[in-house]
Subunit: 231 residues, 2 copies
DNA sequence: ACCTGAACACCGTTCAAGT
DNA sequence: ACCTGAACACCGTTCAAGT
């Protein structure tokens, strides 16, 4: 006779083990800990102490879990109100709040950036504050949208660079790139060598404040062009 | 007696079916056609008309295939030499070349952006030209690196937005966002509503040239600050 | 109503075997 | 040397069954 397998079963009769909320919370924790790639329905079920298929009773599929996480994460975006600051101060406040958010949920936001559709919901809540700040700069509507696009692209790109070595132009931890440079013949990439050679150690790290300043300066320049050209 | 399965076998004796080059070319074609997510060793083998395991004789694993694709793709980055242009003209030439590259291989570059490590190699070839252009602007080394970071973040972000609806601040095809806006109560997101309402149809599309102009204006402003503050 | 478990159609990769 | 095929440890998801 074969031995019976131990079944989990319900711990308390009539009581619900799983809820949408509990599933989403566990999913976000898993994703933050080990990334979206390693996140799976089966691992999520194990983390919840439940059969993999139990989840499907509360959320239709894996995509729905990721979509459900969007408002959970972006609901945490808290832009402080800075009453006595100009539009640049407002944009800075937004930028830092956004950066803090994507830092604490970098694995998930990373996935959003390259997938989208998911992000449209998040876009609403995030953009409202940013648009308001940019409107204060006196930009015409079309330029508000463009400035917001450039800023968010920068914020996402910077966040991506911080967590993963770097790609083409990501800040921070530039050592891998320097290491690669050493492996090439000395006559290759002269400009890169010269620039990096003249940086001190502190300057090798990505400087969020400084790079944000470039974007702000660009927006300001456009705003001023509008003031002199028109009205 | 069961029937024997037809075996593929080698078409011509002593002749090599697979090469690293052929595998990489097929992989890039597959990725361009259906994305990195749907790309698998088994599908690649099918496309090559070969047993899935045959590939492992030429490349050690899936990651090696993606890594091998980096020089293939970024080797195609061709920045035209614009002799009679200032630094802004040089940067514009780079920006357009980069944009064209990521457009034709958007699925792959998209994957690079959120993975990195892979990209360090690509970074070298791409950044050399960009750094040279930025050096002409009279920027100090630390600011060359920052300006390059901001520009590449913008270029990657814009490319991402073009191919996938949009995330938080991606350009082009803003209809999903507008659609979402309509589904919310009319008193929510007043600034977003006002801005989008005053845009005409043409302005709803992302404007690469205009957004690039913001970044260039920012870099220029920083370069001029340096000229007046120092030296 | 809520959960389980077998099943199906997929993955990447190892390893022994064929030619 | 180069390719095959069985096998292993995974996936997401459907569906019938249990309580």
């Amino acid at each position: 006779v074969t031995t019976r397998k131990q079944r989990p079963g319900r711990p308390k009769a009539g009581q619900t083990l799983l809820t949408r909320k509990r599933i989403l919370a566990a999913a976000l924790r898993l994703i933050n800990e080990e990334g979206v790639d390693r996140f799976s329905m089966r691992r999520l079920a194990t983390a919840l102490g439940v059969d993999p298929m139990a989840i499907y009773h509360h959320l239709p599929n894996k995509e729905a879990i990721l979509a459900g996480l969007v408002p959970v994460v972006f609901g945490q975006l808290q832009v402080p109100v800075v009453a006595d600051a100009g539009w640049q101060g407002q944009v800075r406040a937004f930028a830092w709040a956004y950066r803090n958010l994507v830092r604490t949920h970098s694995n998930f936001v990373l996935h959003l950036v390259s997938n989208a559709e998911l992000g449209a919901n998040a876009a609403l809540a995030a953009n409202e504050r940013l648009f308001a700040a940019l409107a204060r700069a006196g930009l015409p509507p079309a330029w508000i949208v463009r400035a917001a696009d450039v800023l968010i692209d920068f914020l996402n790109g910077f966040a991506l660079g911080e967590r993963s070595g770097q790609l083409i132009g990501q800040p921070e931890e530039r050592q891998p790139l320097l290491h690669l440079l050493e492996q090439h013949p000395a006559d290759q990439f002269p400009v890169l060598r010269k620039v990096y050679a003249s940086l001190d150690k502190a300057e090798l790290a990505g400087d969020f404040e400084a790079e944000l300043e470039i974007v702000l300066a660009g927006i300001e320049a456009i705003a001023q062009r509008g003031n002199t050209h028109e009205s």
